[in-house]
């Protein structure tokens, strides 16, 4: 009896020590930290013009996103972070969107290990976690980051994260996808549950690994697996992507490639890529901010392979090129202008695009 009690206590002892150390971190705090609440946010105003020879130009003016970020840090290790997003100025039936983009308890045990629980952002692609307007060059986010990686992709779940020896990782388990909303036109974009009483019969598992040891260079990849649940059928799918980024000697370059494979249903594959190349001329002109002319080429197809083949695949293929100028008078404020063309694979119809944008973050 005594031996059994000692054995049980010895098994529990390290667990208790570990929990105590997590709960009592005050010995590591000092006068360079105090519990605090931070308010932040970002937003962007867009002017969009789409024009073809066959129809009148579509022109829109839209405050696309207004996001409030707030966080509270209880200790150096425990914090809470949240983002609330309003899209398109207001919400009414069928218009606008108001949602939680993040709402997670964070624990940072060390540089190598931490976790989050709540509404989390899976680390897939370059923009899903970091997408404030001054961070990317174009007025709208790349189409790849809308139709292949459906940013902003957030949901209820947990994540583990950390950094070690020049590598940065994040593993996430979260709510899955709605198979009924997967379509040729939008891939998995419409299938996001967005946390609303999310179906948890099948979860989504994703892991991302970045190499960050060389300042100014970032490269990495992620793998995602889930079974989207539906009323008609369930669709197992996998998403693989890789990405690279350069911020060095004035060069601004992004590259992303991603592919989704669907194991059931008429839609079989979605594919896409884009690359951005720009150069900050501020140093050459003596300007104290950033002045970046840039170019983008993108090609994506949400229905790269279907059981029907032919026109059903070509109809969803788009190639686009854009060139633009991004001006940041200070790091937190950005003005953008861009011009380009988008072509559809089936109709060969070309759309002329002209966009203006103003954005901020704080």
């Amino acid at each position: 009896m005594k031996h059994e009690l000692c054995r049980r206590l010895s098994n529990l002892f390290p667990v208790l020590v570990f929990l105590f150390c997590c709960a009592a971190p005050t010995s590591a705090q000092d006068e360079f930290f105090e519990p605090s609440t931070t308010l932040g946010g970002y937003g962007e105003l867009h002017y969009n013009l789409e024009d073809t020879d066959q129809s009148p130009a579509e022109k829109k003016l839209d405050f696309h996103r207004f996001v409030l970020f707030y966080s509270h840090s209880w200790t150096e290790k425990w914090s809470f972070k949240a983002e609330v997003e309003l899209e398109h100025n207001f919400v009414t039936t069928g218009k606008g969107e108001l949602g939680l983009e993040q709402a997670a308890i964070n624990y940072r045990h060390s540089e190598a290990f931490g976790f989050q629980a709540g509404v989390v952002l899976p680390s897939i692609g370059l923009l899903n976690e970091l997408h404030e307007p001054p961070v990317f060059l174009s007025v709208e986010r790349p189409d790849y980051s809308k139709y292949i990686i459906p940013t902003t992709w957030a949901g209820n779940g947990v994540s583990l994260f950390g950094k070690k020896n020049g590598f940065d990782y994040k593993l996430t388990v979260m709510e899955g996808l709605n198979a009924d909303a997967i379509s040729n036109e939008s891939g998995i974009r419409g299938a996001r549950l967005k946390g609303y009483q999310a179906d948890a019969r099948e979860l989504l598992y994703t892991g991302r690994l970045n190499y960050i040891a060389i300042p100014g260079f970032l490269t990495g990849l992620s793998f995602t697996k889930t079974k989207a649940m539906g009323t008609v059928q369930d669709i197992p799918l996998t998403l693989m992507e890789f990405h690279g980024q350069v911020r060095k000697k004035g060069i601004h370059a992004n590259f992303e490639w991603g592919g989704i494979d669907y194991d059931k249903g008429s839609l079989q594959k979605s594919r896409g890529f884009y690359f951005d190349l720009g150069y900050d001329m501020a140093a050459k002109t003596g300007f104290s901010g950033a002045l970046i002319p840039w170019f983008r080429f993108a090609d994506y197809n949400t229905a790269a392979s279907t059981s029907a083949g032919g026109d059903s695949e070509e109809a969803q293929r788009y190639s686009k090129w854009l060139m633009g100028l991004t001006l940041k008078p200070i790091d937190e404020v950005v003005f953008k202008i861009e011009y380009g063309y988008q072509k559809n694979g089936l109709t060969d119809r070309e759309q002329r695009l002209f966009n203006l944008g103003a954005g901020y973050m704080f």
């Binding site: 002892f13 390290p14 940072r108 300042p215 140093a283």
Partner: protein, 213 residues
């Protein structure tokens, strides 16, 4: 901690783990991992961490004289406006690093804001005001930790507040750490602008002595 490890896992019997059944092997390994994590849950203080880094840059014979330096209010306001970043408090930690036959160097420690948590960093200046060394003493955010990369921080070395070259044009950006990187750049500039005031106080021999050998 050794007692705790021995309580769970007798050290002399290390080979016994591999003779256990798989379930018990897993339990023992998990216990060791938990104790290891617990042992690193406690970190050293900011001041001692900074002094370790200072000592790593200089000869062991250098004498460190520590002071909590109160920033003159008018200078504080002017520097904050110019750099668009506040000092964390009205004081910064300063060490005068004294040598026998050479002018001193000066280390200054302060916080800069991250997205939600402060980043504690240190700059060491040569007596002529040139940045000699920059390091991150404590990074608390869950993302953007690339600012602690030594190759990135080395870019600050040699810069002076009086330089014609804007500091932000000298420093390459950082993928995935834009907010943190911009914050550190403003922070280094802030301390470089404060340096002449600290130097004046040392010159006037007003530095109180709290010597760290």
């Amino acid at each position: 901690m050794i007692f705790a490890v021995e309580r769970v896992f007798p050290l002399p019997a290390i080979q016994q783990i591999f003779s256990l059944k798989p379930k018990k092997q897993l339990m023992k390994i998990l216990q060791i991992i938990l104790l290891f994590l617990a042992s690193i849950a406690y970190a050293g203080g900011i001041k001692s961490s900074a002094e370790v880094k200072i000592r790593s840059q200089f000869d062991v014979k250098a004498k460190l004289i520590f002071k909590k330096y109160t920033i003159p209010a008018d200078k504080k306001s002017a520097i904050e406006k110019r750099c668009r970043q506040r000092f964390y408090r009205g004081k910064v930690y300063v060490w005068e690093i004294r040598f026998e036959n050479a002018p001193p160097s000066i280390a200054v420690l302060d916080n800069v804001p991250g997205k939600a948590m402060p980043i504690t960093f240190m700059v060491i200046f040569d007596w002529d005001g040139a940045v000699r060394f920059v390091d991150i003493i404590k990074y608390r955010e869950s993302i953007g930790g690339a600012v602690a990369n030594r190759r990135w921080l080395r870019q600050f070395e040699g810069w002076r507040a009086a330089s014609q070259e804007l500091l932000k044009n000298k420093i390459d950006g950082l993928s995935g750490a834009t907010i943190s990187a911009n914050s550190i750049i403003a922070g280094v500039q802030k301390l470089a602008l404060l340096f002449p005031e600290i130097k004046k106080e040392i010159d006037n021999a007003n530095f109180s002595t709290q010597v760290t050998e």
